[in-house]
Amino acid sequence: MKKLLLTTALVGFAAGAAQADDVPLGIILGFTGPLESITPAMAQAAEMAIAEVNESGNFSLGTVTSVRGDDGCIDSGMAVATAERLVTSDRVLGIVGADCSGVTGAILQNVARPNGVVMVSPSATSPALSTAEDDGLFFRTAPSDARQGQVVSDILVDRGVESIAISYTNNDYGAGLADSIQAAFTAAGGTVTMVASHEDGKADYSAEVGALAAAGGDVLVVAGYVDQGGRGIIRSALDLGAFDTFELVDGMIGDSLLEAMGDEIQGSYGQLPGADNPGTETFQGLAEAAGFDGTSAFAPESYDAAALIMLAMAAAGSTASADYKDHVMDVANAPGEPIYPGELGRALEIIAAGGDVDYVGASAVELIGPGESAGNYRELEIRGDAFETVRFR
């Protein structure tokens, strides 16, 4: 009986394994943890790109499948274990992910590099990743936070803000972003009265806000997560009457913020990666048809990350990371025919015919230097019950 059970288990296991002409891609995002409210849309966007490529019938290397994995966003031990399983057991040939910068670095060093697998992160924005050892395997469709710091400073200066206080979430993302905002704003002639951290997951932030209020400032810049301490800081600042206007970084843009206190923070502003790009609208239409919210943070970047991997595979004529890693920059940048969302089939045709493509995609992809997005942002302002796009930067 035992033998029978074991055999069934083994057969079941083997059935789950990849078939020869399958091209499995890993989608490693924080389905639990501080970004859990935006990751479902990110994963669906990536899977939408995969479905589009399969349906076009122009991808000659096999059928692309996806395997989801949870990195917990801030739990590097869990992230490495997940990636390890996807790469060694599910044999994924490329990774869309990870989402948070810390775990992205951990997966890159402990799994992607040792196993030689390409990673394209849609949302890891830490400047430290620009200089990380990556053997040419790591790319990101999100810009580095060094760029966001500059954008925040520009927005503040344009709005005539002279002094700010910064509250950041106490991890590598928050600390890195706070550094770059402080540097950029000071260079532009503004005053930073205080840079203080907050721990996520605490119930009470009155002490943090008390210190920030004592330091003063026209605007409080909140560099945190919308479902975590960032929201607590804003709540507390409103309750104590410490600040009225907030500048919100990309991690803070989310509908849950509007639901919780939309009418109290009218006129606050922030920014998200994005460009004045016809592709963005096309993507949102496609997303709506596929049944998810295309305006959700980092969903366009996720679509682009998956698309880039598959186009690079096609351009290299191989699904091996070592072969296609050198083609990622080529398909992403000019020269070539510009490619927008929904045109992946056409792009594959052009590549098959020996032509050149310039992938623009949903987020105006333009990879620079160490394989990261050049960084276009849209400035948002809270008006009524929505984030409205004010302009592009």
Binding site: A9, L10, F13, T32, I74, D75, S76, G77, V80, A81, E84, R85, T88, S89, G102, G105, A106, Q109, N110, R113, P114, N115, G116, S126, P127, A128, S130, T131, A132, E133, D135, A146, N170, N171, D172, G174, A175, G176, D179, S197
Partner: protein, 432 residues
Amino acid sequence: MTLRHASYFLLMAVLLVLVGVLQSWSVAMGLLNMCLISAILALGVNIQWGYAGLFSVGTMGFVALGGLAVVLTSMPPVHEAWSAGGLGVLGGLAIGVLAIIAAVQVHRRMAKGWARLAVQAVVVIGGFFLYRAVLDPAVDAIEGTNTAVAGYLGGAGMPVILSWVVGGLLAAGAAWVIGKVSLGLRSDYLAIATLGISETIVAIMKNEDWLSRGVRNVNGLPRPVPYEVNLQNNPDFVAWAQSFGFDAVEGSSIFVKACYAVIFVVVLALIMWLSERAWNSPWGRMMRAIRDNETAAKAMGKDVKKRHLQVFILGSAVCGIAGAMLVTLDGLLTPATYQPLRFTFLIWVMVIVGGSGNNWGAVLGGFLIWFLWIEVEPIGIWAITNLTAAMPEDSGLRAHLLDSAAHVRLLTMGIILLLVLRFAPRGLIPER
């Protein structure tokens, strides 16, 4: 060790092999490495609890210090930061230490009374402000240097294996200070005090960026074993791996993990051998005597407080070594991952389940509980999927249960602990 106890270890081996066959060998080897480290951690706690009956729940702090030691020992020094504020930091720290020593001396030498209290207050408060005045600008200078990749003082640039010893020493030093302060307390007070102190240690590591980059993490720590990429590019290795039927990537991954496993086994064996020697020595008998009847031991002229301090330091040092090994295995230091449930209470469950007061029991507990900690989640998902198979596909309850499968872990650990405490209070391999 009886036949029955040996069979427990055999069962453990079978479980790991089963993971290798059913999931992948790479996963199984990863699990084995973590089991080995858990076993060392459990040994450390067993020295404190099993030998001497000290209820210290500060394990997490010593593990974290061990991790810190890896950065301080093995990373190359950042010269830019040293010239920016190295002296200032050292000076500030020296002032802090001197102020504390001065306060203790005042306490010893002056007669009790308001005058002593006043002088002490002046020394402590004055020292604190002087310390901040010297330290703060230096810290700002250091943290201003190229924060994206550095912004800290770096380490000593020495071989990473050495950091395991340093980790043990660092933890021992901290344990000496903590023990001096809190070992006089009653058992539950000691628990709360150590719990608080371990949280404080982690908070310092998270917020003192000049020390180890705080929450920015330190990536790319040196390794005592070869890198997979280099192995894959080495034709001799590739040929060798293929002779076992592995391709280059999988072979290199397993080979590296095996190297770690060999080193870890050596460390574990060494600590185990020393622990067993200590247990069977007159010193060990004396510790047990103190544990079982403190008053009698005191009457026999044993210095209970001193012995407690000794055993507290030893146990903490072992935890520090394990912490350093853990960070070396991960290749990065992330202070945010240190959580009391995972690094203190889980270790306690290992010791209680394995058998407190028995080194073999602690090792078995380390293996078994870590294995369950990792594998209970997939088993839980499997169980829930099957139990709810009858429910409709879109049932809200079913979706909720599947979403919550991860929390089965905590539940299982609690139930195991309660059952063992009630029905086998001496653990799987009881004290002889």
